[in-house]
Each structure stands twice: as structure tokens, then as C-alpha cells.
Amino acid sequence: MLAGVKEITKDDLLEEVQKLAGENWRLISITGTDTGSGIDLIYHFDQELTLLNLRFQIDYGETIPSITPYYFCAFVPENELKDFLGVEVTNLPVDYQHLFIISELTPVKIPLLRKAAGDDAGEVKPE
């Protein structure tokens, strides 16, 4: 089991993040994983080398709120979530429209999403 995990719900996210921002925690990154039944999201935070992971699951196609009002730097991992897992993030101030790291030429549309997410997700385009 991953150490330093706090299980939360999507509805609690902004409140929890606001609390951490008030306590001067640093946002490290956000990790998204396609579990086959949905997307598992982990928000990694650090304070004086202590690691805290906020974790919750969402269904395919479910949107999440951006945490940029509290951590502007979150726009980077949130754009990665859009690129790699197709997760829609609301109120994103810097939105690359699914083209942050991948491009129109990338052969796989949503590279880290398994087939369960949709008909065309994860499929290699024909040459």
C-alpha cells in the first residue's frame, strides 16, 4: 500500500486543497491511472519532506474541478490528465485543449486510457 494516503471524494477536493494551501504544502504533481473501471487520481503534496497523497476515483467521462485557484502550478499536471487520460478539468486557466505534450500527429488519441473508456480511446490510428 502507498504510504501517506488520504482517501477523499471528488466533492471534498477543493476544500482539502484549500486547507493544504493554507498550511503551505507544496503541490508535487497529480497522477492519474486508468484502473479499468474508472480513473484513479492521486494529488501528491510535500511539506518538509513529508509526502501526502490525496486520492479519489472518478468514472470515465466525469469532470473534475481545477485546483488552480489554490495552486496555479496545477495547470501543468491537469493539462497532462487531459492529454493522457482524457479527463476534463473545469475552470482551467491555461488550457491547451488536449495538446499540451501530445500533438495532432500523435498516433494514439488518449495514450494512457484503456479501451474500456470508449470506442476510439487507446486505439492506434490506421496509417
Binding site: L2, L27, I42, L49, C73, I101, L112
Partner: protein, 359 residues
């Protein structure tokens, strides 16, 4: 009154060694807004790793970046060892520390040369890279290669240090220290370098935490955080303190890297002095299962690996968060309000590594 102008800066630019784009919104010579653009060399490594056998993924991790190759291999090996409950022999931990510090030295010296070149200080650039060759010789002599050394493996290291290699290291560390001292003096005292860096690209202590800065960028803003303090490899048994500067500008970030070169030399000497006898590799059996977060201090800052495995031969998820990705939002903040002529220097001050960022 001149209106706003948008200037595309990069992706090919004389001072950027890798493709990196800025969309600069300008009012006369001042930057009002800066939006970074990346994605010119994305290779899909995170996805590729989930289709490979986990032991081979070590070589893939090593190829995330040529400059940080050792650090990526180390982070991957440490992650898998935690997942598989592998106790690495003490001698291997010390060897990993020595090679990690050599990797930091060659990366910092590479940056120092590039920075001198960006300032237009051609002779200093050559001096920095001349001194860097001592490090590259040490890497080659002890690891068997200069870039992709594959010296780390899951369970330990693939090579040992014999007496001759230790003597070679100690001799070259002395030469490096003497040569680097000259470079250090010029960098910290030259009025032209100070003119280009002092007070340029300010990132306050509060902003550095709020914007998620890491490594020398964070320490140059007065925050004493260094992932080596977590004690991975043999760092827990060596004496050192994070190098911190508190002027919060490009000069501070530069000085942190310069002082870290002396710190690395000191750490290698300490590690050689305490180097225990014994094996350097244990056999690893089975397949990884579970999930783990590993953080190590790359030359550019905190590197995070998240690995999830399900007991099969391939990993379920392989997530890499590299330091440059974290330093992009602080960089946007530093550039806002700067002069156009300072944009290259401020961008270089975080030591961007685009190969790592795009993985």
C-alpha cells in the same frame, strides 16, 4: 503608445539546447504574459513502459534523458526494490551515491558552460567544459561509458570500484576542484555576469512554494529542501546540508549550482572514505506488486516516480514527474515583467531539460 505584440520565442533558439517555445505577450520591451509550449519531442515513455517487461523498463527509464540517465535508472531501481522488498548491499548504496554525485557534477558543469555561452562569455564556456572533462573521464573509467552507463540495476550495481579506480577518482577530484575554483571565481565575481543575473527573474520564497518550484530553483529562493535528505542510497550516512541562497534571483540559482559542485566533490570523498567491503548485487526474484512513490534529487530538482504493479511481468502504471515540469509555472512567473533581452537568461536559470519534461 504601442499596443501589445505577441512574439513567438523558440522552439529553435540560439540559447536553448532543446526545442522549447514561449508565446510572449509584450508591451514594448516588457513581457506581460508568457505561455510555455512543449511537445516537440514527446516519446510516450510512460505508455511504452506498460508494454515492456519490468526489468527491461530500467533501460527505458535510463533513456528518458541523456544528461540525467543515471538518475532515472536510480529512481527506477529504488522504486522496484521498495516494491519487491529487496535490500541492496551497503557497498552498492555507496557506489550509487558516488555515481549520482558524478552525474550531478557533469550536469551542473554542462549548465555552467551553456550559461557562460548565453552570456556571450565564450572563454568561460570553454573553461567550464574543459573542467567537465575530468568528471566525464571519471564516469567513463568507473562506469564504462559516458552517457548511458547502465551501471545501476535492480538489486544493486553492475560494476565495482577496484583500487586503481578509487585512486583515479581521488586524483581527478583534486584536479577538478582546482580547475573549478577558477571558474567559480569568475562566475561569482565578474561584473558582466552579475549585471545579467543579479535582480533578474525574481522568485520569492512564498512564490517558490506556492508555484511548486524544486531543486536549485527552490533553494535559490531560500528554501532548504533537498530530496537527498530523505536518505536514499547512502545519503543518510553522509554529512551535508542543502545549499541555500536567499536573493531569489537568477544569480542565486546560479550560485546554488556552483556551490553544489563543491558539495558533490565533498560527498564523493566522504563516500570513498566510508566505502564498505562486500557484494554489490543481490539476486532479485519474482514480480513486483503494489504501488510506490519514490523521490530523488536530480541535478535540476525533485524527481518523482510513481509505479503501480500487479504481479505480472509489465507495470500497470509508470508515472514520471521531472523537475523541469515543476519549474515551468515558477518560470512563467519570473518572466512576467522582465525585459525581452532577459528572457533567455531567466529561462536558462532553471536549467530546463526538455527531454526529461516530455519523456
Amino acid at each position: 503608445m504601442i499596443g501589445k505584440t505577441v512574439i513567438p520565442f523558440g522552439p529553435q533558439h540560439a540559447v536553448f539546447p532543446e526545442p522549447f517555445h514561449w508565446r510572449l505577450v509584450m508591451e514594448e520591451e516588457r513581457v506581460l504574459d508568457a505561455i510555455p509550449g512543449i511537445g516537440y519531442m514527446h516519446r510516450g515513455i510512460e505508455q511504452l513502459a506498460t508494454r515492456m517487461e519490468f526489468a527491461k523498463t530500467l533501460f527505458l527509464a535510463e533513456r528518458v534523458c541523456g544528461i540525467c540517465s543515471f538518475m532515472h535508472a536510480l529512481a527506477y531501481a529504488e522504486s522496484l526494490e521498495k516494491l519487491m522488498d529487496v535490500e541492496v548491499p551497503p557497498r552498492a548504496k555507496y557506489l550509487r551515491t558516488i555515481w549520482a554525485e558524478l552525474a550531478r557534477l557533469q550536469s551542473h558543469l554542462l549548465w555552467i558552460g551553456l550559461a557562460a555561452d548565453a552570456f556571450g562569455f565564450e572563454s568561460l564556456f570553454m573553461q567550464a567544459w574543459r573542467v567537465r572533462e575530468y568528471v566525464m573521464d571519471m564516469v567513463e573509467f568507473t562506469e564504462g561509458g559516458r552517457v548511458m552507463t547502465s551501471s545501476v540495476t535492480i538489486g544493486g550495481v553492475r560494476r565495482d570500484l577496484h583500487e586503481e579506480a578509487i585512486e583515479f577518482l581521488l586524483e581527478n577530484l583534486d584536479k577538478l576542484e582546482v580547475g573549478f575554483e577558477e571558474v567559480y571565481q569568475v562566475f561569482t565575481e565578474d561584473p558582466l555576469i552579475k549585471h545579467r543575473t543579479v535582480g533578474v527573474g525574481i522568485l520569492s520564497k512564498e512564490d517558490s512554494i506556492r508555484l511548486g518550484a524544486v531543486g536549485p530553483t527552490l533553494r535559490g529562493s531560500g528554501v532548504a529542501q533537498d530530496m537527498r535528505m530523505l536518505g536514499y542510497a547512502a545519503y543518510g550516512e553522509l554529512e551535508f546540508q542543502p545549499v541555500v541562497e536567499d536573493s531569489c534571483d537568477s544569480y542565486a540559482r546560479m550560485v546554488v549550482r556552483l556551490k553544489e559542485c563543491f558539495q558533490s566533490i565533498n560527498l564523493i570523498r566522504q563516500a570513498i572514505k566510508k566505502l564498505p567491503d562486500g557484494d554489490v548485487l543481490v539476486k532479485v526474484r519474482g514480480k513486483p506488486e503494489g504501488e510506490v512513490v519514490t523521490r530523488i534529487e536530480q541535478p535540476r530538482g525533485e524527481l518523482l516516480y510513481y509505479i503501480k504493479a500487479n504481479g505480472t511481468k509489465s507495470l500497470e502504471r509508470f508515472r514520471i514527474r521531472t523537475p523541469t515540469l515543476s519549474n515551468l509555472p515558477p518560470l512563467m512567473h519570473m518572466i512576467k515583467g522582465a525585459c525581452l533581452a532577459d528572457v533567455p537568461v531567466i529561462t536558462l536559470s532553471i536549467d530546463t531539460c526538455i527531454a526529461c519534461t516530455e519523456r
